[in-house]
């Protein structure tokens, strides 16, 4: 039994419109069905780019944000079903460290008052003296001087403030600490101090962490298991080393290849997988696989129509992709360029996901043909794989153009953009970058 288990967690924010009558015109699907397990004493790292829902997920675990559906089981209790008072009592055991150390500390309270407030609320320590002793002990533990008690947040540097944030969580003797971007506001040399502190505390106090961050290198450094999020759901989960050694989901591959490494030789050598365009809006996620609008390996079947489930693919990897086996075996060919063409070629027309139901889906290509594999069970694809792809896709592979598979979806008409950001290029057809004279 894991200490913390999320099962089908969904957090949808309603989009409201109207002055007199409050109408809900849609939802932002911030977290859309995430299931994961955090083992006691371990660190689970959640990575993803801005807007993928990782922060919302962290807040939902503490119920700082309402849960739409799904379960958050902590030590055998479903937090989603608790009333407010019971939840308040549970929060002693689940604490949070926030990104912005200055913004999350009250500037008018001194450090003792900030740290004692939570203790008083949860009835820790009989009186002020006892609490003060405890606070002094914790301050020493996080590497702050004892005279910090009577000082105010503005008197500390960024790294020290983050230590205060950690101390505030620690005084309540929690089991789980959710760290939301714990080091991203800090300078590099200070980041390392805070990361080391978090690791020391875990070792000496047996803490369990859920670390939420956008920096893959930081997450890889401190996590035992890493989950990669894209547009509200997990696309891949694996032990830290396995994920780095062999990322399997196309998004993870692209993400890994995009992280700069401070090693010139490695930087020159390794292949970068550049993605087309930007993240689609979570209010309007693409149908089928959420990543199919940018995926370099997108296929004509399944991708645009069926949402892949997170499936165990061995070695502790769980991957949400219909074509994992084919991509691993190298039998699937990239259908989009991943080099500089991905950036400079704007190809024909931007495609908008609003049209998803009407179809940027390549219905002209394989619409009438019922897909062979059972939706949601991509595992059988492993054996059938070499046969599965539409011949057009495979056939176009070694063609002179870097990508330009003939089977690539035809450009849909220019949609009305609700918001910039989800324009993307189709195909990768050999149209050279327009050079200026």
């Amino acid at each position: 039994m894991s200490l913390l288990e999320l099962d089908g967690l969904k957090v949808h924010f309603p989009i409201r419109k109207g002055i007199l009558f409050d109408r809900v015109v849609g939802h932002v699907y911030a977290v859309d069905g995430v299931s994961l397990k955090v083992e006691a004493g371990q660190t689970y790292g959640l990575v993803g780019e801005s807007g993928c829902g990782k922060t919302t997920l962290g807040r939902a675990v503490l119920r700082l944000t309402g849960i739409t559906s799904g379960e958050v089981v902590f030590d055998g209790t479903d937090l989603a079903g608790l009333d407010d008072e019971a939840m308040r009592r549970f929060r002693r055991r689940l604490q949070m460290v926030f990104q912005d150390p200055l913004g999350s500390l009250n500037p008018r309270q001194n450090i003792e008052s900030i740290l004692a407030e939570g203790m008083a609320a949860h009835g820790i320590g009989a009186d002020r003296e006892e609490r003060r002793e405890k606070i002094k002990e914790i301050l020493a533990r996080v590497g702050l001087p004892a005279d910090a008690l009577n000082r105010y947040p503005h008197e500390f540097s960024g790294g020290q403030r983050q230590r205060i944030g950690i101390a505030r969580a620690l005084v309540l003797e929690p089991d789980v600490i959710i760290c939301d971007e714990p080091v991203s506001a800090l300078d590099v040399s200070i980041q390392a101090q805070v990361i080391n502190l978090l690791e020391e505390l875990q070792e000496s106090l047996g803490l369990t962490y859920l670390v939420i961050a956008h920096d893959l290198a930081v997450v890889r450094h401190i996590s035992d298991v890493i989950g990669v999020m894209y547009l509200g759901s997990l696309v891949e989960e694996a032990p830290s080393d396995a994920l780095y050694a062999a990322p399997r989901h196309p998004y993870t591959k692209a993400l890994m290849s995009a992280v700069p490494v401070p090693d010139p030789d490695l930087e020159d050598r390794r292949e970068r997988i550049l993605l087309h365009g930007d993240l689609p809006s979570p209010a309007n996620p693409p149908a089928g696989c959420r990543f199919h609008t940018r995926c370099p390996w997108v296929q004509d079947t399944l991708c645009a129509t069926d949402r892949p489930e997170l499936t165990d693919t061995g070695d502790g990897h769980r991957v949400a992709c219909h074509w994992t086996a084919g991509i691993e075996a190298g039998t699937l060919v990239r259908t989009r360029a991943t080099g500089i063409e991905a950036v400079t070629e704007t190809a024909a027309v931007a495609e908008e996901p609003e049209a998803a139901d009407a179809g940027p889906a390549p219905d002209l290509v394989s619409g009438p043909e019922p897909p062979a594999p059972v939706p949601g069970v991509p595992a059988p694809a492993a054996e059938a794989d070499p046969k599965l792809p539409v011949p057009g896709v495979l056939g176009g592979a070694p063609a002179p153009g870097p990508a330009g598979a003939p089977g690539a979806p035809p450009p849909a008409g220019p949609g009305e953009a609700a918001e910039g950001g989800h324009g993307r290029t189709t195909g990768g057809a050999g149209q050279p970058a327009a050079d200026r004279g």
Partner: protein, 334 residues
């Protein structure tokens, strides 16, 4: 002859009523055509102020700028505002960190791009619009015709940064200064923007001055790197030399404190102790001494000079540099 050669640039803020504070304290470097030079350091090291001084964007009052910045024979620091305006946008251009606040929120993108074309290339009306669309297309903005009519808030962060790059390269500048161009962006978008800059340098021979705190970005992009600390360059070297043999304790410490994607899990980080607030004035000694593991009393006897303790062209400002136990095999005359 390098395109830009900065010599002993000094920028001091404050004046009569305030205690003067020196943000840039005698920084010298050169940028050649088609070369990418990095200025790296943490917040408060003076990297951004250096770029603002070069572009003539520092406020006229309350700032003292000293030294020389020779750009193809003209000293940028003493140019008249009118001459500077003429040069800026045409010969030198800059990309800023935050694309939203460096675009005018109430003016459509198209008008902001054509403004430059009108000012420096004399293009107007339809030809200007066409050229603007082509510029946006070149930096990978899909459907440029529509985007030109949109306002900055309608574009995503990555697209705004592209629009800024399009504006910066509109007149094919010879020097491009990029101040943390990818810090506000997600990592996959960062990769797109860096690739775009790389292509610009390769194809057009633009000189690029890259200002960043991210050593990973530097490793993949810069030919020559200057590490700044408290307003002074503490180490200058080619990127392979710098990353292979970081010799100043600060550069060494920075590299030791970054978690690396390719490092085995469990490998401990070696942070630099203290923070930038623990520094002493360069006049009294090495500003980094209070945080340094190698420091001796010698560090407190005046400003250390840039020397070449390891290899030619690898300059280090330290009296106790981090050198390997066995020195590199030097050519010993027989």
């Amino acid at each position: 002859m390098p395109l830009l050669s900065v010599d002993e640039l000094t920028v001091t803020f404050g004046g009569r009523d305030r205690r003067p504070s020196t943000a840039v304290d005698g920084v010298s470097f050169t940028v050649g055509q088609g070369q990418v030079v990095g200025l790296v350091g943490e917040s408060g090291c003076g990297k951004s102020v250096t770029s603002l001084a070069l572009m003539g964007l520092l406020p006229a009052k309350g700032v003292t700028v000293g030294g020389r910045a020779d750009f193809d024979g003209t000293d940028l620091l003493t140019l008249s505002p009118a001459r500077m305006r003429d040069l800026r946008g045409r010969e030198l251009a800059m990309i800023f960190q935050d694309p939203l606040s460096s675009l005018n929120p109430v003016v459509p993108i198209g008008l902001q791009v054509t403004e430059i074309l009108r000012r420096h290339r004399g293009l107007k009306g339809e030809p200007a619009r066409k050229e603007a669309a082509q510029l946006l297309d070149r930096v990978g903005i899909p459907d440029p015709g529509r985007r030109l009519k949109e306002y900055p808030h309608q574009l995503s962060g990555g697209m705004r940064q592209r629009a800024l790059i399009a504006m910066a390269v509109a007149c094919a500048p010879r020097l491009l200064i990029a101040d943390e161009p990818t810090t506000a962006l997600d990592v996959t978008i960062q990769a797109q923007i860096l690739e775009l800059l790389r292509e610009l340098v390769d194809q057009e021979g633009t000189a690029l001055l890259m200002i960043t705190h991210d050593l990973g970005v530097v490793a993949g992009l810069c030919d020559q790197v200057n590490v700044l600390y408290a307003g002074k360059a503490v180490e200058t070297a080619g990127r392979r030399e710098l990353f292979g043999h970081p010799t100043h304790p600060y550069a060494h410490g920075l590299l030791g404190s970054i978690p690396r994607l390719d490092a085995p899990r469990g490998e401990p980080l070696h942070p630099i102790r203290g923070s930038i607030n623990d520094k002493i004035a360069w006049a009294d000694g090495c500003a980094f001494a209070p945080r340094c593991d190698h420091y001796t009393l010698e560090c407190l006897t005046g400003t250390p000079e840039l020397t070449e303790p390891r290899a030619a062209g690898h300059r280090v400002r330290c009296v106790n540099p981090v050198l390997p136990a066995v020195p590199p095999t030097a050519e010993v005359p027989a």
